[in-house]
Symmetry: C2
Subunit: 338 residues, 2 copies
């Protein structure tokens, strides 16, 4: 039995999350029972939603239990199988968590999915052709539902969700404007990801300043917005919305640490007859096949070339995760284990 | 030609609206051209949306021009007609404004509608069987779309919109909870309007206190909410929403005077996967026939017995309107002119 390094949640954050909230432990992988599969993880996905799970309070998901392996998406290969559907060497994605190996019930629906690495690199199944990509697809297609020629905006534009959103919206004939932190990310959004414009929120001290920059980038106003951040960014976008604008709310990263994060001017919801809708993509499994097909095609044809930030080794995961929460990553944050 | 008393907007409010913003003038009614109809108004409708029109700023509608007759719904009778579709004595509803008579183009679509007073009193066509009733219908049916057994809440529960909302929601098998100001209105909501419970917001200093009262009134949480007020009431309701709650935003009366009116905790939109949607009913004329049919039936059969506050004479309109903005009315606010 191989040794299995794991990272467990050791204690809950008070305010900001820190590396001291996590603990690295080593266990043996258990012997497989009939129907089980042993997966060696090549990549671990780090995502903002994990910060929410670290809290004990009410949210849309159960809190991460203390002392258990942190939840997380993984991509890897089957190294041992007692299930007829999976063979040694199959490349698979699942929710293996922050550890080197996981034991998966091969019969459990949706727990382990075989993927082809012929046209799509394995790591992208944790990003553009995985949960983040489907998240972008759902918000754009099912909530914003843009018409060609409309202007749509996305915050955290160079992240895994934002970059997929950009490609999906361009494919629908939209003007796509990103919001990102710093000149490097903004240049990358325009030059590599195909955004029509990108606004650097770090250049602006408040929502009024940011909204003036958005006015320049969105001369016809904003028809749809995908919100990954909340706070000042959302306030600024709302000031530029057109009548009947739609806002898909996917993240409120600035609020996870418990600081109050009010919306400055909710009266705009009425003035502009807006729709604001929150969602979590795991509650809409019915769209995954259609979304993954489109996203896989965009990657395979080079229309979506997502960037990755890769930390090396399981022990680097906590620090990479804290960096993700602070926006230090550039593109999809992964931990490479093999 | 009869003399025509009119109330015009004389100057725009700075902060709160006052009676000094209005001016009473007297003119002659003009001679009719071919195709025109002269309507004598029996009732003038006073509605919160008029406060928004008094401002010069950006809103969903053009500002009310200074020196012109205030906009407003009217119910009356045809006293002179040069249009074949309208005869002297016809009872009609329209948008005649704050004046005793109006001249209407009989060919203009939707400007003048003949109504029957056999089963529905004329004044109710400005309330339950008019724009406020259709407003309640649209928010409930098209945005909240409740299932039987769900809990729905409405603020300003005893007003024209709120009372219609209550009857429409009860007809769909919902638990209906009102929010209103003062024990008299709350007792009236439960005893006369058929609400299952009504919470007095004046008993609570903040959203936390109000949300505790809502927890008692809504033991299964809140699935749908119709917002006429905004501010503390909306904050309190959001704290009690269930997953996938829908909020129809019809009014933000507390914000009209320009005071900032933030939403305390927009992260709940994500946590509870809520949908919040603003609307104005005049943009959805396609639903009016279906909505008015249902509302007329509810009134004719006594399932909806709306209350009215009636001011007498056109000169009383400004003071009655200011009272409406402060919640002094009890039920639909009208001005009786004949």
């Amino acid at each position: 039995m191989p040794q299995n390094q794991q990272i467990v949640l050791d204690n809950r954050p008070i305010g900001e999350a820190t590396v001291a909230n996590f603990k690295l432990v080593t266990t043996a992988t258990p012997e497989l029972a009939d129907g089980q599969v042993l997966v060696r993880h090549h990549y671990l996905s780090l995502d903002p939603y994990m910060r929410g799970r670290m809290n004990d309070g009410k949210s849309y998901a159960q809190p991460q239990p203390l002392g258990e392996v942190m939840i997380g998406g993984t991509a890897g290969e089957v190294v041992e199988s007692r299930h007829p559907k999976f063979a040694v060497g199959d490349t698979v994605v699942g929710m293996g968590g922050w550890q080197e190996y996981s034991v998966v019930d091969g019969n459990a629906v949706g727990m382990l999915r075989k993927v082809s690495t012929t046209h799509v690199p394995l790591s992208h199944y944790l990003g553009a052709v995985g949960m983040p990509g489907v998240t972008a697809w759902y918000g754009l297609v099912k909530i914003i539902a843009p018409k060609a020629g409309e202007t749509v905006v996305v915050s955290a534009a160079t992240g895994a969700v934002g970059s997929a959103f950009g490609a999906l919206a361009k494919a629908r004939g939209c003007r796509v404007v990103g919001i990102a932190g710093g000149p490097d990310k903004c240049a990358y959004a325009v030059n590599e990801l195909g955004f029509d414009a990108c606004v650097d929120y770090k250049e602006h001290a408040d929502a009024i300043g940011l909204s003036k920059a958005l006015k320049v980038a969105c001369p016809n106003g904003i028809d749809g917005h995908f919100e990954n951040v909340g706070g000042m960014v959302l306030d600024a976008v709302m000031l530029r919305t057109n009548a009947f604008a739609r806002i898909a709310v996917c993240g409120m990263i600035a609020g996870y640490n418990g600081a109050p994060l009010p919306m400055a001017n909710p009266a705009l919801i009425l003035v502009n007859r807006m729709k604001i809708e929150g969602f979590i993509v795991s509650e809409h499994m019915e769209v995954w096949p259609e979304a993954l097909t489109e996203l896989g095609t965009l990657v395979a044809t080079g229309q979506l070339r997502p960037r990755e930030s890769v930390a090396l080794g399981l022990a680097a995961a906590p620090e990479a995760f804290i960096g993700l929460l602070k926006g230090k990553n550039f593109g999809k944050q992964l931990v490479k284990l093999v």
